[in-house]
Assembly symmetry: C2
Homo-oligomer: 313 residues x 2
């Protein structure tokens, strides 16, 4: 049984109540806490020593990553983050200086995005450091951007460049909060999520939830410099295009919108975010499944999700 | 550096914002999410294999405990729980049936208290299973029951009987949600918290936050049958009174209120909660520190907090 099988078995049995607007399965849960103007976003995520960072990773970058992963999920709902709590699992002989460094990284990022860190829990964990962060945020009522609303004919966009995140970006990435909100406020976005398991791993979440398929254009995939360098560096590495499609931890935004808006969103983006790439990488189709189109023809893509228990990076 | 020293060093540096009503340091954080009627409670807690439960512990009881600990903190704010998210850290060769059992325990308790489970995260954790739960709840605006509001002369009460929780209660305890709300709705409670590190470990949190002291009455401490049985069972066990004062994981409520209300709260409690003990165990004093009064005289009590890294149960 894989991680994904387990999650699929767990989700249908989860307890619910009438304050749940969106339960498990999207980037964040959405709750109605009674405010007439806004809905509450709720998300949890964790980083684990040996999986998401190494013993040698600088503490501040570990803290940054732990909070940034949750912030990326708030960005994927075009939301505004409000407050975080942190659970630390620590081995018996932990180094207090390292933990203070982790918190320095968390706090520095929190301050930049106006997030309060309002509590935590410290417990023992024999296997190494684990940092679990939960985050509250908010969105205006009536602005739900879910994975399930992609429409046939939509243009598919990604921010930034993809692949090779292990070279360093996975520790230092910028959650796309301003970008997510700007998109939602200015364009009729149909589906929005963040890319954490690779474009080819995550786009199928939108496709399945929306009961559609997609064609990706091989030449349009924005490949990061790091994915290219890694491919040159060693024969064991993936070819750059495959890295851009399947490497984990890009933490860029992936969205679809009506194709008639494709040019205007690209033009407005260049003015608003001149430093950050925006690429139209394909189109939503009525034919289910995900395909890659290139000069060589069209090939179906198997799903390449990152399973924490089955693969090692 | 102990766990408590580390936390003391971390708290003053935490990022904040103007939506924070109460930050780290009380049972829950309190946030203003914009609802004109209510404030939002936010809490995180974790249970770890080998610390809070054993490999042999039934999965459903582990799930129950993981959620119940957070619910107890909502009870300690006289709040109503709304929604939880769960982070699971699992060793490589985890047993999917066990995890489904953990979720069954979480969901059963969640349903009983109207809590939705709205998401989660699964990740690898070499050392064993760790379950981190974060919980949202709400309280009416203007009903903040903090640790810092105890007043000189207050009567000190505890619910239930104390000590010996390791015999089983630590896995199966009932969070005192109805009790906490009833107290807040019907009496002028000054300070409220839940007991997780023993009465003698937790009462000092109220005393320090309120800049007061307390006398506990040795004969009035409600000692659980389990604490008595454990003392009889082996010479290594604590005497029953010491167990009632210092054993961890009672998860009962501890509160103070004006002493003129002591009789009326006791009388009304017996009618409202006939199955659950309520004991007046002492009085708040202007003299700082915590003392135990008995026929043998008055003795100062050193603080007996449970440090996850320094002691073993």
């Amino acid at each position: 049984m894989t991680e994904f099988d387990l999650i699929r078995e767990i989700i249908p049995g989860l307890a619910s109540n009438d304050q749940v607007v969106v339960g498990a399965g999207d980037d964040c849960a959405v709750l109605d806490m009674g405010d007439p103007q806004s809905l509450t976003l709720f998300k949890t995520d964790a980083v684990v020593q040996g999986v998401h960072f190494e013993v040698s990773t600088e503490a501040e970058r570990v803290g940054h990553k732990a909070l940034a992963r949750c912030l990326s999920d708030i960005a994927a709902m075009a939301g505004t983050p409000v407050a975080a709590v942190v659970t630390l699992g620590l081995p018996l002989n932990f180094d207090p200086k390292y933990i203070l460094g982790v918190y320095a990284g968390i706090n520095a990022l929190a301050r930049r995005f106006g997030v309060a860190v309002v509590g935590g829990e410290t417990t023992r964990n024999e296997g190494g450091i684990i940092i679990s962060v939960s985050l509250l945020g908010s969105i205006p009522r009536g602005r739900l951007l879910l994975r399930s609303h992609a429409k046939v004919g939509d243009a598919i966009f990604v921010t930034g460049k993809l692949g090779g995140s292990l070279s360093g970006k996975h520790l230092d990435f910028e959650p796309r909060l301003a970008e997510g909100r700007w998109l939602a406020e200015n364009f009729k976005i149909h589906a929005l999520m963040d890319i954490s398991d690779g474009l080819a791993g995550d786009l199928p979440h939108i496709l399945r939830a929306s009961l559609v398929g997609a064609d990706l254009l091989s030449d349009a995939i924005p490949i990061s410099r790091e994915a290219q360098l890694r491919a040159k560096a060693g024969s064991a590495a993936k070819p750059p295009l495959l890295a851009a499609l399947t490497d984990g931890e890009d933490f860029e935004l992936l969205f679809t919108l009506p194709s008639r808006l494709a040019v205007s969103v690209s033009d407005a983006w260049r003015i608003q975010f001149p430093e950050l790439n925006l690429s139209c990488v394909g189109r939503v189709t009525s034919l289910p499944g995900l395909r890659l189109k290139s000069k060589m023809g069209t090939k179906p893509m198997p799903q390449h999700g990152y399973d924490h228990f089955a693969q090692s990076e």
